[in-house]
Amino acid sequence: MGEFKDTIQKEVIRTQWCKSLIKFVHEKLGYKLIYLGLPGPQALDLLEWIDYIDQVIAFQCREYPKPSSVNQSLDKVLELEKKLRDFERQGKLTTFSLYDGYIEEVVLRGRDINGNHLSQNDVVTIYNLDFCNGITAPLKVKDDEGNIQEYYKSDAIRRLLEIQRDISSQTRCKKFIMFLTVHSLFWKEEAKKFVSQTESEPLKKYFLKINSLRGGPRWIRLLKAYIFDTVKRYFCNYDFTPEFLPVIYYKGAGLVIENWLLLFTIIGAENKGISEAPCFQRTDDFLSQKFLTVRGKSLISLNQRGIDEINCYQDSIKAFCNSKCYEQLWNRRK
C-alpha cells in the first residue's frame, strides 16, 4: 500500500483493462458489485468503476509506511471518507464502510485501530488489493499487550477468501474478480527459498527455463510463479476455482526502478465438491504467457529476450472468455 500518486500507466490499466472486465462481470451477473479494497484517498478506481458498483468496503492507512497509530494524522482517511460519502449522497453507492488501518492488519486482527470490527455481510465481487509493496514483506504491528505481531499479506488474502467462503447470500452468487498489485522487486531472498523448496514439477521446469535471465526479468517471473502457486492454493482450499488472467508489469509512481509493479487479475468462482475446488488452468500455460505492459496509452505484450513466451490477450474480456473456467463455471445457464 504505497503513497497514492496516480500515473498514466495506472490510468490506462484502470480504464482499459479493469473497467471493461468489471463492466463485463457486472452484466454477466446482472447486479451491481460489492468492492473491497484500497481505493486510496482520492478513490480514483472507484470513480472510474462507480457505474458498476453498489457497495464499498474500504481500508485506508494513515501514514504509510509507519505502523498504525491513533496519534497519526487522520487526513487521508477523512479524505477517502468524504469521497465515499459524496458517492453515497449522490446516489452512486448504496452504502460503504471504511476501516482505519492497513488491510492486512485489519483483516487479521479482525478490527481496525479504532476498534471497529471487520465484518462482511454479502459476497464481495471485486477485491482490489493494491499492496504496492512486497507480497512477503510482513507488516509489524504492536498488539494490545505491546508485543510486536507480524501480519503477512498472503495471510490476509487467505482470510478474505475464508470469509467469502463462509458468507451466505440470498441474492449474489460467489463469483468475483481479485486485482492484486504487488511490488516486483522486494522479493529476492524469498525467491531463493521458493525455488529451492518447490516440489512442483512444472515449476521446476519453469525455473530451469528462466535460468538464463538475470535481475528484474528473472525476479518478476519468479514472483509470477510464486503468486500463482500460492494464491491458486488459497482459492482452491476455500472452494473457489481461480483463473489467472495475463499479468501486467508496469511502472508505478516515482522514478526509481523499485517502483515497478505487477498486477495480477484472478477470477474466482465457487466450485464446491468433496475435496478442494479444481483449478482448470495449467501452471505452464499461465507461466509461459508474456507479460503485458503499458506503452503510451495502450496495453502491449512485453517481449523478453532470452526466453520463449507466448502471446496473450491484451483484452481482459477476451482473456477471460477464452478460459476453461469461464466455459465451465460462468457461461453455463443454471
Binding site: R85, R89, N114, N121
Partner: protein, 552 residues
C-alpha cells in the same frame, strides 16, 4: 414598559449550555434527527455509523428553501406540538458537542431543488472555549463576549446545490468528524440498536412476536376512533458493515413460554383521551428476565418518555409490573414531553394523565392477580390429583399400620379443605371447577374409607386377622380423577434451596450461597424421607417466598 433587548443580550454560550444539558447521551442526537424525519412524514430511514461520521437519511417530504433557512433557529419552530414530535427548535443542535461539522442536505417535493446547510460546530466550540479561557484570566469582560447571532451567522453556511449532488427527495444529515470519546460508544451495534428500539416508533417484528399484528392494529383502531395521529417508521441501522432493519424489541422469547394475549386499556379520564395501553403478561409467575423490557414504557408519538421503572410505582405490586411487557401509547396533542424526554411537562393535563395511569395500572394488577390465583389454583389442583392417586396406589401397604393411616387421613383432609376453599372463594378457572368438585368429593369419600379401614384394623388388632389385605373401595373413584393438566404451564420445580433464589431472581452472594447449602443439607434434606418429598418441600418453600415478595 418593556425593555429593549438586542442581539448582544443573548450570549453564544447558551447554545453549548443548552445542548450539553439536554443531550447527555450521544445517542440522543440520533433520536432527535430521526424525530425530524418522522415529522417530515418519512416512511423509511437509515442511520449509518462508519468511519468517522454518522449519516441519517430519510425519504420524507424534504425542505424547501424557506424551511431550510428556518432550521438554524434556536428555540423557535414551525412544527405543531400537537402532531409533531420535535417542536422546540433545539434538536438540530443536539450534535453540537458530538461532531465537528453538521451538514444537512434536503430536497423537497415542492421546489425540487437540493440545499445544503452546513454548521461548523468545531469552530464554534473553539471560539467558546477560547472565550472561557480569556474570561478565566480576566482578559474579557461580559460585554466583549460573542453573542449567539454572530456566532451562528459566521459559522453556518447555506447554499443551493445541483440536482446531481442530492438527487432524491428527502433529507440527509451528516455528522462529520465525531469526537472519538463519543464515537466509540456509537460503534457498538447492539448498544445503539437497543437504544433506538426503545425510543423510536418502530414496527413490531411479526415473525418473532406473535401478538405484533394484533397490537399494531388495535392501537391504530383506537387512535383512529379518537382521531389521533400515530406514525411508525422503517428504520435500518448500519454500523460499519453490519446492516439490520430494526424492530421494537419484543419477541416471544422475552417471556417464559408463549406470552399471554395482550390486554388493552384506553387511557382516559373525565372525557380526556390520552392514548392506549397494551400489556402482555408472562405465562409463568416470574419476572420478565430482561430488566430493560420489564414493565410498561410510556411513548408519545412512538418516542419513549422516561424509563419503564419510573411508572412502576403506579402498580400496587412491583412484582406484577415486572411480569408484564407493555407500552402506554400517548397521543393526546396537548400532553407534551419535556425537553429531555424524561417526563411530560408540568400541567393540569399531566395530573389527569397520571390519574388515569393509576386506574389502568389497577386493571393490569387485577389481571395479574387473578392470573396468579388461577395458576396457583391449577397447580394446587394438579398436585392434589396426583397426591390422591399416590395415596390410592400406596394405601394397601399401610393396611395394618393405623398410625400411618391416620397421617394419610390428615393429608387427604388437607387436600379436601384446600380445594374446597378455592371453590368457595371462586379462585379457580371456570373450566376446572368440575374437576375440583370431583377432587373434593373423592377426598371426602377416601377419608371415610380410610376411617372405616382404621376401625377394621383396630378390630383385627384384637382378633388376629387371617387372609388377604382388604381392598380400599374408593380406588375406582380416584381412578376417575383426571390427569394433572397444568404441568406444562409451570417451570421445573427447584432442585435445591439455592435454585429457589435463582428462579425468583434474588441475587445471592457467595457466602450466603454456602449458608443456604448448609441449611438445605442439615435441615431440609434431613426432614424429607425421599426425593419426592424433598422436592415438594422446596416447591412449597418457593411459593411461600414468592408470596412474601409479592406482598412486599
Amino acid at each position: 414598559m418593556g425593555i429593549k433587548i438586542t442581539k448582544h443580550d443573548i450570549g453564544a454560550e447558551i447554545i453549548s449550555i443548552l445542548t450539553k444539558g439536554m443531550y447527555f447521551d450521544p445517542r440522543d442526537a440520533l433520536r432527535e434527527y430521526v424525530q425530524n424525519g418522522i415529522d417530515a412524514d418519512a416512511q423509511n430511514m437509515e442511520i449509518k455509523i462508519r468511519g468517522n461520521s454518522i449519516v441519517i437519511q430519510d425519504d420524507g417530504c424534504g425542505m424547501d428553501e424557506e424551511t431550510m433557512r428556518k432550521v438554524v433557529r434556536v428555540g423557535i419552530s414551525d412544527k405543531r406540538p400537537s402532531v409533531d414530535v420535535g417542536f422546540r427548535g433545539i434538536g438540530i443542535y443536539s450534535s453540537f458537542h458530538l461532531c465537528d461539522n453538521l451538514r444537512i442536505y434536503s430536497r423537497s417535493r415542492t421546489d425540487n431543488t437540493p440545499y445544503l446547510l452546513s454548521f461548523d460546530f468545531k469552530k464554534m466550540r473553539e471560539i467558546l472555549h477560547q472565550q472561557q479561557v480569556e474570561r478565566l484570566k480576566s482578559q474579557l469582560t461580559g460585554d466583549q463576549l460573542i453573542d449567539l447571532q454572530s456566532l451562528l451567522e459566521k459559522h453556518i453556511d447555506f447554499k443551493t446545490l445541483g440536482t446531481k449532488e442530492f438527487p432524491k427527495v428527502g433529507t440527509r444529515v451528516e455528522m462529520i468528524n465525531l469526537d472519538p470519546n463519543f464515537f466509540k460508544s456509537l460503534t457498538k451495534f447492539e448498544e445503539v440498536a437497543d437504544y433506538l428500539r426503545q425510543v423510536v416508533p418502530l414496527h413490531f417484528q411479526s415473525q418473532k412476536f406473535k401478538w405484533s399484528e394484533k397490537i399494531e392494529s388495535k392501537v391504530s383502531d383506537v387512535c383512529r376512533k379518537y382521531k389521533a395521529e400515530f406514525e411508525l417508521v422503517n428504520l435500518t441501522l448500519q454500523v460499519n458493515t453490519r446492516i439490520e432493519k430494526l424492530y421494537r424489541p419484543y419477541t416471544d422469547e422475552c417471556f417464559n413460554g408463549e406470552p399471554l394475549e395482550p390486554h388493552f386499556e384506553e387511557v382516559k379520564i373525565d372525557g380526556y383521551f390520552f392514548g392506549v395501553a397494551w400489556g402482555c403478561l408472562n405465562p409463568v409467575r416470574k419476572k420478565i428476565s430482561d430488566r430493560e423490557l420489564r414493565g410498561f414504557l410510556i411513548k408519545k408519538q412512538g418516542f419513549a418518555i422516561g424509563k419503564r421503572i419510573n411508572i412502576a410505582k403506579y402498580f400496587r405490586r412491583t412484582t406484577y409490573f415486572d411480569r408484564y411487557i407493555g407500552e402506554i401509547m400517548v397521543v393526546h396533542p396537548e400532553l407534551l414531553p419535556n425537553a429531555a424526554r424524561t417526563d411530560f411537562e408540568i400541567s393540569p393535563l399531566r395530573v389527569l394523565f397520571y390519574e388515569s395511569l393509576s386506574d389502568i395500572a389497577t386493571e393490569y394488577n387485577d389481571i395479574a392477580d387473578k392470573y396468579q390465583e388461577y395458576t396457583k389454583g391449577d397447580e394446587q389442583l394438579d398436585e392434589s390429583i396426583n397426591k390422591l392417586k399416590e395415596i390410592e396406589a400406596n394405601i394397601s401397604f399401610y393396611a395394618e399400620n393405623t398410625e400411618q393411616l391416620v397421617n394419610i387421613i390428615m393429608d387427604v383432609r388437607k387436600i379436601h379443605d384446600l380445594i374446597k376453599g378455592r371453590l368457595e372463594r371462586k379462585v379457580l378457572r371456570e373450566e376446572r371447577t368440575a374437576e375440583a368438585g370431583d377432587v373434593v368429593r373423592s377426598a371426602r369419600a377416601l377419608e371415610r374409607e380410610i376411617q372405616r379401614f382404621i376401625s377394621q384394623a383396630r378390630e383385627r388388632g384384637k382378633v388376629k386377622r387371617k387372609g388377604k389385605t382388604p381392598e380400599v373401595k374408593s380406588i375406582e373413584r380416584i381412578k376417575k380423577l383426571p390427569e394433572a393438566k397444568g404441568k406444562e404451564l409451570f417451570e421445573n420445580p427447584p432442585e435445591n434451596l439455592v435454585e429457589i433464589f435463582d428462579i425468583l431472581d434474588i441475587s445471592v452472594s457467595k457466602q450466603l450461597k454456602t449458608i443456604l447449602e448448609l441449611i438445605d443439607e442439615k435441615f431440609i434434606q434431613a426432614s424429607a424421607s425421599n426425593k419426592t418429598e424433598y422436592l415438594s418441600i422446596l416447591k412449597n418453600l418457593k411459593d411461600e417466598i414468592e408470596d412474601v415478595l409479592t406482598e412486599e
